[in-house]
């Protein structure tokens, strides 16, 4: 894993920078996709790319507060989402329709997220070079 790289917020992406979007649609723990998906995102931090991470459908449950995995004896990886900022990965989006259906608000998450509609996220998605689904 890479050291956090300090790039000013207003830095323009260089020529070699591509837009990567990670689409998270799965709940944590029932399957490993959420955990291994997060590992992919973290690695991207080492490559200085323009990274967006989107949580939609049951993927929004990945970042809800209060996860306690002691009794299932699995690794609680929800605190690791807070490490993303250290890798300059701060474009975290949550789909409005998904959280409304689940009775959640932006306050319920372990990291600061921007709440966007599916239509807004679809616009962002169309601008990407690479979209990875876990």
């Amino acid at each position: 894993m890479a050291e956090p790289v300090d790039i000013p917020e207003d830095d323009e992406p260089g020529e070699d920078v591509k837009k990567f979007m990670f689409v998270n649609r799965r709940a944590p723990y029932g399957t490993i996709y959420a955990l291994e998906g997060l590992e992919m995102v973290l690695i991207t931090g080492a490559f200085d790319q323009d990274v967006s991470v989107v949580f939609m459908d049951d993927g929004v449950f990945q970042i809800v507060k209060g996860q306690d995995t002691k009794a299932v004896n699995m690794k609680n990886f929800s605190p690791t989402y807070r490490a993303l900022e250290g890798y300059d990965i701060d474009k975290l989006y949550v789909e409005r329709e998904s959280i409304e259906a689940r009775g959640l608000t932006a306050e319920d998450f372990v990291v600061p997220v921007k709440v966007l509609s599916a239509a807004e996220l679809a616009g962002l998605m169309a601008e990407q070079h690479v979209i990875i689904s876990a």
Binding site: I32, V72, N73, M74, K75
Partner: protein
């Protein structure tokens, strides 16, 4: 009461193996007999001894081996499903054995409850 358990998914990818493990442990703790744990589909990967999860995560393959040893559990990997997935005797973790699907049917015939865990 006499239980048997069927595990349909491999370790880590699905929670099925963890849930089955906790169920079997609790059943034994309550004085029930667990006649057999049968591993089918990707479940056969639970018997792969080379599995090395990260240090800070549980090693479900080892946990099955330990539970098997402590309580003389019959941990059976289905031979047909295992061949497809490259699980053979030389990669088999301690306490597991490879046998045929008949062992699952036999478990169904001889136990009071068969409980299935999968995706």
């Amino acid at each position: 009461m006499k239980f048997s358990v069927l595990v349909n998914e491999g370790p880590f990818t699905h929670q099925a193996s963890d849930s089955a493990y906790h169920f079997v442990k609790a059943a034994i703790g309550k004085g029930h007999e667990v006649m057999r744990v049968f591993f089918y589909h990707d479940g056969v990967n639970n018997g792969a001894k080379l599995s090395s999860p990260q240090q800070d995560d549980r090693n479900i393959v080892k946990l099955w081996s330990q539970l098997g040893k402590e309580h003389g559990l019959d941990l059976v990997i289905c031979v047909a499903a295992a061949l497809r997935r490259g699980i053979k005797d030389d990669v088999l973790a301690e306490g597991f054995r490879i046998s045929g699907l008949g062992q699952l049917i036999e478990a169904g015939m001889e136990t009071d409850r068969l409980v299935v865990f999968g995706d």
